[in-house]
């Protein structure tokens, strides 16, 4: 038997994150780190490596899923506002908002540039013979290579900014002793 009054809190409220926000946050985290690691690793593989053709397929598939999750997440943020920030000082709030904004921006820039790379010559975005999204246009090689550079730099930026975001959460937990970290780990 569940305790009386027990209910899974799906939606965010004034005080706490709901499980949907928490789930989307940590799933995005795991997928982003995995995509980053696989992305860096796969471009260094030798031609005879058994994973030479496998990893790019996984990277494209997972990238498309994360892009979809990010869109859902942005929609959820608009529909169901997160609880207010716990930071008191205006500059901390500004920093936190800025970091969140940059993270969302990078989470959008990565799938867009990735899509442009793979569809540059008019072929659809596909993974494991599964067509995910048709090409909308083609690009000259120099533009595609710029998309490639932006993709790589955005990947590094995402990991670095996410690290700052994580360190800030740890600072709130251990130095400020507030619930910033805890409330992203469990709902109320």
């Amino acid at each position: 038997m569940l305790p009386r009054g027990w209910m899974v809190q799906l939606r965010n409220d004034e005080r706490a994150y709901g499980w949907i926000s928490i789930g989307l946050h940590w799933l995005s985290f795991l997928m982003a780190v995995g995509l980053f690691a696989v992305g860096l690793y796969m471009v260094g593989l030798t031609y005879y490596d058994p994973l030479y053709h496998q990893l790019p397929e996984w990277h494209k598939l997972a990238g498309a899923v994360l892009a979809l999750l990010t869109l859902l997440r942005l929609g959820w943020v608009l529909l169901n506002r997160p609880p207010p920030l716990l930071a008191d000082s205006p500059w901390q709030r500004l920093m936190a908002r800025g970091v969140h904004g940059v993270l969302y921006l990078l989470l959008l820039a990565l799938p867009i540039t990735g899509y442009l790379i793979t569809t540059a010559e008019g072929d659809a975005l596909a993974a494991f013979n599964l067509t995910l999204l048709p090409a909308i246009t083609t690009f000259d090689p120099h533009t595609v290579d710029w998309a490639g550079r932006l993709h790589l730099w955005s990947g590094w930026a995402l990991i670095l900014v996410a690290a700052v975001h994580g360190l800030a959460a740890l600072k709130h937990h251990f130095l400020d002793r507030d619930t910033t970290l805890i409330r992203m780990l469990k709902s109320s």
């Binding site: 031609y47 005879y48 790379i117 793979t118 540059a120 010559e121 072929d123 595609v144 290579d145």
Partner: protein
């Protein structure tokens, strides 16, 4: 000093006489018809030893000077935009442009400049020249063959050649391991030149 008008006229006449006494067919310059895409640089290389992978360079320009009376005075020069490499696969082409292969951000251009042309038959010649790719310049020799030439239907005059050669990737600093069957690329060139 005062130059008399008749001195100028006679100098002009002398120049005309000199020009007329030159061989009837002087060297003529032809520009490769890359605009109309009647010029191609293609390559093929083995895939694992199982099949051929074909590709081409879409963007290049070149010209040749044709001296039919003194073929050894003929010459040619081609400049290739390496980033235009096209193997009909976006991700492979991106890989080819990267540092494992052509490294086009550092070495955007490849070129061939002939140094010696030797006729080997009625319609064949060996064209030796300096080929530059990925910052490495080495002599290579093309086996060239005359295809045809004459007036085109639009008021111009054209001549066409085809040529083949082989390039060892390692010679040009491309040492990504594609396997023992794929160390040499076959090059096929077909160009039509428009007389200037």
């Amino acid at each position: 000093m005062n130059v008399k008008p008749y001195a100028i006229v006679s100098a002009g006449l002398l120049a005309l006489l000199l020009a007329a006494s030159l061989p009837a067919r002087a060297a003529e310059t032809y520009v490769m018809d890359t605009k109309g895409s009647h010029a191609f640089i293609q390559f093929k290389i083995q895939h694992l030893g199982f099949s051929w992978l074909l590709g081409r360079f879409n963007d290049f320009e070149g010209q040749f000077v044709l001296d039919e009376d003194n073929p050894e005075h003929s010459s040619t020069k081609v400049t290739i935009d390496v980033a235009s490499v096209d193997s009909n696969h976006a991700e492979r082409d991106k890989h080819l442009r990267g540092k494992d292969f052509f490294q086009v951000d550092k070495f955007p251009e490849a070129s061939f400049v002939s140094t010696k042309i030797e006729k080997t038959g009625e319609e064949t010649a060996k064209i030796t020249g300096d080929f530059t790719l990925k910052g490495v310049t080495k002599p290579i020799t093309l086996d060239a063959k005359y295809v045809g030439g004459g007036k085109d239907p639009w008021g111009g005059f054209r001549q066409g050649f085809e040529a083949t050669t082989q390039i060892r990737l390692k010679d040009f600093n491309i040492d990504y391991n594609l396997g023992p069957a794929a160390e040499v690329a076959d090059i096929y060139i077909s160009v039509e030149g428009i007389r200037q």
